[in-house]
Symmetry: C4
Subunit: 200 residues, 4 copies
């Protein structure tokens, strides 16, 4: 830290790589939705019934898709306030991408167990993965802030508030899951209208 730190002006490849991981993680979610296996005498009504019964998979897909999308949108904005990157930001951003790329797994767990007696564990694990996602973003912000990588004037108070709020709400969702899995999921989504509609 005491040695002169190199700040690379170019963020292009870091953004391109991050965009790649975001885009792939968000698109891989659909892979976890399995086509129902009916016998080949089944009628259209039976197929539609079986498809409707997959609603926890669709719900998980939708929640995770928009959770990752919201992170991408904020990542996109946050990087516009950076003057460059250094070694530590690459690592912190790597940890954020790690939490993003892991999302298809807890999503599949949620989809498979939301309608079973294990729903509490499934939604707690799911909300926990959103906590990690949030922590990953907080880490990136901390590293950029402490490393002097932020443009002057871009204190990003709203981002800090958003991240702190997200952390509290997602963490609450982990514990609420053991009372009501559905309330936990609702908490996971409660901030989206705020993030989507409030002009930032």
């Amino acid at each position: 830290m005491s040695a002169p730190r190199k700040i690379h002006q170019s963020l292009t490849r870091l953004e391109a790589f991050s965009d790649g991981v975001f885009a792939i993680a968000i698109t891989l979610l659909v892979i976890e939705i399995k086509v129902p296996h009916l016998d080949h005498e089944s009628t259209s009504t039976e197929l539609l019934t079986a498809l409707l019964a997959l609603w926890p998979s669709y719900l998980g897909f939708a929640i995770s898709f928009f959770a990752i999308l919201v992170v991408w949108i904020n990542h996109h904005r946050f990087f516009q306030s950076l003057i460059g990157s250094d070694c530590r930001l690459l690592v912190a951003n790597g940890f954020l991408l790690f939490t993003v790329s892991a999302m298809p797994f807890p999503t599949a767990v949620l989809a498979d167990y939301l309608t079973t007696p294990a729903a509490s564990a499934a939604s707690a694990v799911y909300a926990g993965s959103l906590v990690m996602l949030n922590l990953g973003f907080i880490l990136v912000w901390r590293i950029a802030h402490s490393g002097g990588l932020l443009k002057e004037g871009s204190i990003n108070r709203r981002l800090i508030f958003s991240l702190g709020l997200g952390f509290v709400v997602y963490l609450a969702a982990v514990f609420v899951a053991f009372i009501s899995p559905y309330l936990s999921l609702a908490l996971c989504m409660i901030l989206w209208p705020y993030w989507a509609l409030v002009e930032r």
Copy 2:
């Protein structure tokens, strides 16, 4: 809306992220085609027969590939007529990408059930997912239009007409599926020569 809205000039990362999702969704389609499992005494003739029997999978793959490709081509063109993006466009574009990334699932449903008695439901679901894709694009256009993000003079009459026509045809395909699944699929493809050959 009454607050001053920020328009970000740069569309680069939005396009890069969208291209990523389009590219991944279009390439993931092939994952749903499963290699036939024959016993290990099977001859070349039996393998070829089994591979030919997978034609609904190939058909679904081809239709979805070109359906997504056509959306990408139009997305590509449409973004050339934008002066920038704002918060709401990011969200609307996110919804479009959601419908794009979901395509492998209805494609697999179609492939698995096109030759069964449940073909009507499978092709109705499939056409329905194309309706959603179309609606996603209409939403992006509406948001860009109402947000003043379109370059002057680029009224995109052809795009509006195209989208409207697509919506009507795809919606018709949903209902036609219950009369004839194959006619429904034909409707899904009927606009491609028009989109591909007419210079826009």
Copy 3:
């Protein structure tokens, strides 16, 4: 065709989208290699034996990886000789990407049946998919040429020769597969040293 055709100068997004499809198709190949399922008492020797027995999968992975890589390298070079793109090039390039994104399927067929009596059919199908890949590239070249999209002086004789040679060799490999599947695979790889070592 008689109407004034629009040539878009910017190839950036077309290249980015193509790169995305190439990168994903080439990386998805590994998904088709399945970890052997041994019982949980198996020893290290048994695992190594089972892993070695998967050699047709590794071979298929390697051949398809480098086949797609060679197409990407040539795509990369070819696009440097373009002045822009038009509607028809987008469609032709889309067809090329279709053949690229389909590659994981014939690769998996080859891997599963190369050591069975159905090896001839498997390698014929595989070589056939390389013929399609080659045809896709020839189509892109034809469209670019006839549309006046090539930079002056870049007649690309070597590319034309390469594509023609590839077509003949891959087509021969389809028929040779019924005599010897391994000879067919060797034909599929015979042009790589030429493409890799000859300076173009």
Copy 4:
């Protein structure tokens, strides 16, 4: 080699394609983690127990993620010291990407067999794939060096030292695997703090 070699100034598409492969390989790792299949009467406690039992999968995912991330970070830096690319660099870089895209397979082997008597073979294969990854990078460096593609003054002593050290440590991990699989994994990770914390 005696013929005049063409050096293409633009590295943009090569970087974009490489970033795509890195991003996809790193994100596909999660696909290999399978949701546990419990019967639908299982409780939250049973689900949590089953999820905890998957720790070898999480460990493999984490190790491979950061192993690929470290290679990407170094690839990123290394390309900043290049003046351009030529035919041979494209091929060498293609080999590196081959080793990167193969990583999900040995990772899945490790995850499936780390807690079985075949752990030695699984971790030897895993460490072996890191040796290949390292060799791929060394090849890219050699080709760039011998082809005169490096900027003057960028002798990259630290990179050479890093790569050499990585090679020795990963190769040791292959042999150590037959003594202790866990020690072998520890060796695979031992260089990360050095790579992440030492400013390069």
